[in-house]
């Protein structure tokens, strides 16, 4: 493992009831997070390939952990998202190096498919910073019932020389989705959009 991991966390959220209406089966989503040392902290590093390689291994590790936390096979996942928070001695570009070049391929391998862009967010912040991981359907980005976000935070991360990397996976859309748009049974699945 190239990443020097300090801490791993998973969150599994289940919504059983909303505005007095039962949600049956409950909507479920999971986030898996790694808190790692930022090898590029505190200095300007031109070549970020080390972080890209870390992104690749975390893509696999965190996606596996998220689907395991949901207790579902990878291909049953419906939506996904990713995010990173860089500690104060790092650059936002470090988050980009982890999230964008190489992280997606192993995510899609674990989930079987994943034609859609993996929605993402990133920021720099101190310990306890909140990450809002955007969520979208994994095979068709326009599925409106699956546009969502999951908030995660870890009170003691990221430290100044750390990066917090998160992947979220769901087995469902929003609890009482009713604003129309493309539905999951209408997915063509050719272009990742519809």
């Amino acid at each position: 493992m190239k990443a020097r991991i300090r801490k791993l966390a998973t969150f599994v959220e289940e919504t059983c009831n909303e505005m007095g209406r039962p949600i049956d089966p409950p909507t479920r989503r999971a986030a898996a997070i790694a808190v790692i040392e930022n090898p590029c902290a505190g200095k300007y590093v031109e070549d970020l390939s080390e972080l890209m390689a870390i992104g690749e291994e975390l893509g696999e590790l965190l996606t596996q952990r998220a689907v395991a936390a949901l207790g579902i096979p990878g291909p049953s996942a419906e939506s996904y998202g990713k995010a990173a928070a860089v500690g104060e001695n790092g650059e936002i570009e470090h988050a980009a190096a982890i999230l964008h070049p190489k992280l997606g391929t192993p995510v899609r391998k674990v989930l079987g498919k994943g034609a859609a862009l993996i929605p993402s967010s990133k920021k720099r912040g101190g310990m306890g910073v909140v990450l809002d991981i955007p969520l979208g359907h994994k095979d068709a980005a326009f599925v409106r019932s699956h546009f969502d976000g999951m908030e995660v935070r870890i009170n003691d991360a990221p430290r100044a020389n750390e990066i917090m990397v998160a992947i979220a996976v769901t087995d469902s859309g929003r609890p009482l989705a009713r604003v129309g748009g493309l539905t999951k049974d209408q997915i063509k699945g050719e272009d990742g959009l519809r």
Partner: protein, 194 residues
């Protein structure tokens, strides 16, 4: 007898490999089970609330079992525990106190007769309020290596008429515990304290 109406559940698992020191031979694992329920006494003063403790017992048992499962399934691996509650703004702190008996009872039951009092905390607060749930050794409150706390919370809970209930379990001491005091290996196990 008011029924227990669950809106949402969250399970968080943390795995701590190190905190700047040597890698732990066995990473410390900590898990929190959070359940958001409707507060049947919100918005007015209700004198007789005690019977709700019995109503909460099955929920407590379910949460305790899900924590053991999240930490690997073996109750013998559990070394620390704690509990807490956040009462929404239309309730009183006394409603949080209803959790002491069913929350504590549930964990002792599932862990097969843990001796120490279950450390606890509670507060009244709005959605997103964070709670630092105190943690102590399950058989001897004075074991210094196991004094810990886990911060928990949910962005959209508790709403005004809700209560967020929390149980926490851990698999060992703080990852780099080294401030002396009573050790887990020195527990007499008679009074729950030492």
């Amino acid at each position: 007898m008011p029924e227990v109406r669950v809106r949402k559940k969250l399970i968080t698992v943390e795995e701590i490999l190190h905190e700047g020191g040597p890698l732990a031979p066995k990473p410390l694992r900590r898990a929190a089970a959070l359940v958001v329920i409707h507060n049947p006494f919100s918005g007015r003063y209700v004198e007789q609330i005690e019977s709700f403790m019995d109503d909460l017992k099955p929920l407590g048992l379910g949460m305790a079992n899900s924590l053991v499962a999240a930490l690997g399934g073996d109750p013998k691996q559990i070394e620390g525990y704690g509990k807490g509650a956040i009462v929404g703004s239309a309730g009183e702190i006394e409603h949080g106190a209803l959790w002491h008996v069913p929350g504590g009872y549930a964990m002792r039951e599932v862990l097969g007769g843990a001796k120490a009092i279950v450390a606890s905390t509670k507060k009244v607060g709005g959605p997103g309020t964070r709670l630092d749930v105190p943690i102590t050794h399950i058989n001897a409150s004075y074991v210094r290596s196991h004094f810990d706390a886990m911060e928990v919370g949910i962005a959209d809970a508790p709403r005004a008429d809700e209560i967020l209930l929390a149980l926490v379990m851990t698999t060992g001491p703080r990852v780099h515990a080294r401030v002396g005091g009573l050790k887990a290996s020195e527990i007499k196990g008679e009074d729950g304290l030492r």
